[in-house]
Amino acid sequence: MSKPIEQAIVRIQNSEGRVFGAGFLVSCNQILTCAHVVADSLKIPRETQELPDLTVLLDFPLLEKKSLSSLSIVRYWDPKSDIALLEILEDAPEGAIPIELAEVNDYSYCNFGVCGFPNDIGDWTYGKMLGKTELGYIQVEAETAHRIQGGYSGGPVWHRDEEKLAGMVVASDEDLPKDKIAYIIPVSTLLNALPHYLKKTSQSPAPLMYACFISFPVDSINSLIRTAAQEIQEDLEFEISAQLKNKSVLANTTRTARELCESACMIMLYTYRYFDSDDPLCAQEFHAMSLLEQTRLQELNVRSTKETSFIIPIVIRGIDKFPKEIDASHPVYDFVKYFMLSSGERRRRRDYRKDIEEIARHIVGQCKRLEQNIHNPCGNCADFELPKEQDVQHLIRNLAPNWVF
């Protein structure tokens, strides 16, 4: 269990090399520690309210490969809760791996392990977590010869039963050292304090580039389907951009597999020709997203329903030919009536705008679900390939127009 801590723990020092406490890596270049550890190392009062505009020196002493000390700046400062977030100016040294912050189910009488620097070189304590105290801290008790003491502050406390971070050391009871009591800030408090500051822990950041990918078939009157896709893209973008910064909706004009993998959801703009034999690319895109959807649902540990779907079919022609099996687990939108009118009239319709809002909400929800629960939803996007043509033959059909006479 000591490995995750060894790969993430840092020593907070001053310029003379004196150690004041610990901290740990939580993203590619962010360190979580106690505000009082930073204040002590900078020789400023612990009550300082403003964010200190000074650099903090730290190093990763327990990595296999020794590295030089790093300079960091203070990114978040909360002396009352005793939380500080540091950002090192370069990326973390080789071998350093961030610790993920995720909610803990239970603390009571669970096992923990922690590392600190009362002696500058690293000191380990194991014990039991007891329960919550009035300040919102978790009270813990050491069961080893060593106990949590000065120099442990800011150290990562490992939940040995749930195999994740339990919290961060904040104080020890110095009045009764033989009782070996100490206090930690639980991970939920850390998560609540830092939602806007924390970067993703993933080593290759921001795997999801797009909120949604719009897949549509090409047509001989090509401009019409393209215009339809672009207008839906614009309408959705308008709704989504307020809630998802840095994420866009992408109509498949360049048509590459990578962009599909980098998107949270996919809209299939279904027309009569979507699964046509003349252009199997749509069938390939649909199949690709179905596979991604399966993987994502598995990792999220949720069932495939209309609510959890990552594919949103929008039918603009030929709902009578829409495959029934897709209907069951995807939220199908009937846009046929809107696309019997000009685009101006369509956008004026209240029911159209309501549908667009609903789709946007679904996409935003799915984006957040992915980002909160999976760090790299699509594995390696650069290597993602569309399924082969022969693998989508079951979807392809050869359609003729309906009888006119």
Binding site: S220, A228, D278, G318, F339, M340, D351, F405
Partner: protein
């Protein structure tokens, strides 16, 4: 370039002034500046052709001794196209959309249409944008060609042929105005269901002329919904031959009169559009 717009003029009964409305609208469209490729009028009322009478042809050189009636038109185009399609793969094999498109392009639709001018307006360049495709060559064989043409069989072996024809027209012209046959027939089905982006339904405000109209409109709109054609289909009801001096009668036909058991046409169309387009409150006033 933006695809051209096909507008079909339809009336359930004759004598509504449908052809005249088409000819006038063609002239109005010709005055527009955005019209670069020209306007094509097609006389698809093959059993009772009449559109050509509205236009006097341009003068020919003396060496050109082809009389205007001898000039080929729509039915001749379709005969050539049918023959070409049958030649490529036989009468029984279904043609793909691509094959049909290639054949249509090869035929060159333009050669079946003629630039026209009106004597009174012949000095005006604007009207040089007007083209007419007559119903066909008026030879003794004309009626036989028309009555025997197998519109249904052609659809069976080349299901894409009519929509491909529409797409080719949209490529060649800015506006295509089609004079459709009356009633419910094979060609009126093609003209109202497959061809248009806008459907102008001309009717005289009496119950006879309106019969069959709502049915035809909902058939056309519903066909578009399950087709591969992404163009909208917008319907324009056009009442004609209204006696302006009879104000009271005019209102009765439009707004209805319960005592006389007359349902006004405005209300009928509003109801129809409400259901076919799923609109909240269509208002035609």
């Amino acid at each position: 370039m933006e695809p051209g717009k096909i507008i079909t003029f339809y009336s359930y009964k004759g004598g509504t002034g449908r052809t005249m409305a088409l000819a006038n609208i063609a002239c109005l469209l010709a005055e527009r500046d955005d019209c670069k490729r020209g306007i094509l009028m097609i006389d698809w009322d093959l059993e009772a052709p009449g559109l050509h009478r509205f236009f006097v042809p341009q003068k020919y050189s003396p060496s050109d001794n082809v009389r205007e009636d001898q000039f080929p038109g729509l039915i001749d185009l379709w005969l050539e196209l049918k023959e070409a399609l049958e030649k490529t793969e036989g009468k029984t094999v279904r043609k793909s959309k691509q094959q049909v498109q290639d054949e249509i392009r090869r035929i060159n639709i333009r050669q079946y249409s003629r630039q026209i001018s009106l004597d009174s307006l012949s000095n005006d360049n604007k009207y040089r944008k007007l083209f007419l495709m007559r119903a066909g060559q008026f030879s003794p064989e004309y009626s036989g060609k028309v009555s025997r043409f197998p519109w249904e069989d052609l659809f069976r072996i080349s299901p894409w042929v009519y929509s491909a024809f529409a797409e080719e027209l949209m490529d060649l012209f800015d506006y295509i105005l089609i004079d459709s046959r009356t009633g419910i027939t094979d060609t009126s089905g093609i003209c109202t269901m497959i061809m248009p982006e806008k459907l102008v339904v001309v009717f005289t405000p009496n119950s006879q002329s309106l019969t069959g109209v709502p049915d035809l409109i909902s058939r056309a709109v519903n066909y578009r919904k399950v087709s591969d054609d992404l163009r909208p289909l917008v319907v324009y009801p056009l009442p004609s031959r209204i006696e302006n001096s009879e104000e009271a009668l005019k209102n009765v036909w439009r707004f209805g009169n319960q005592d006389e058991g007359i349902q006004g046409y405005q209300n009928q169309f509003e109801k129809l559009f409400k259901s076919t387009y799923d609109l909240e409150n269509p208002d035609l006033s």
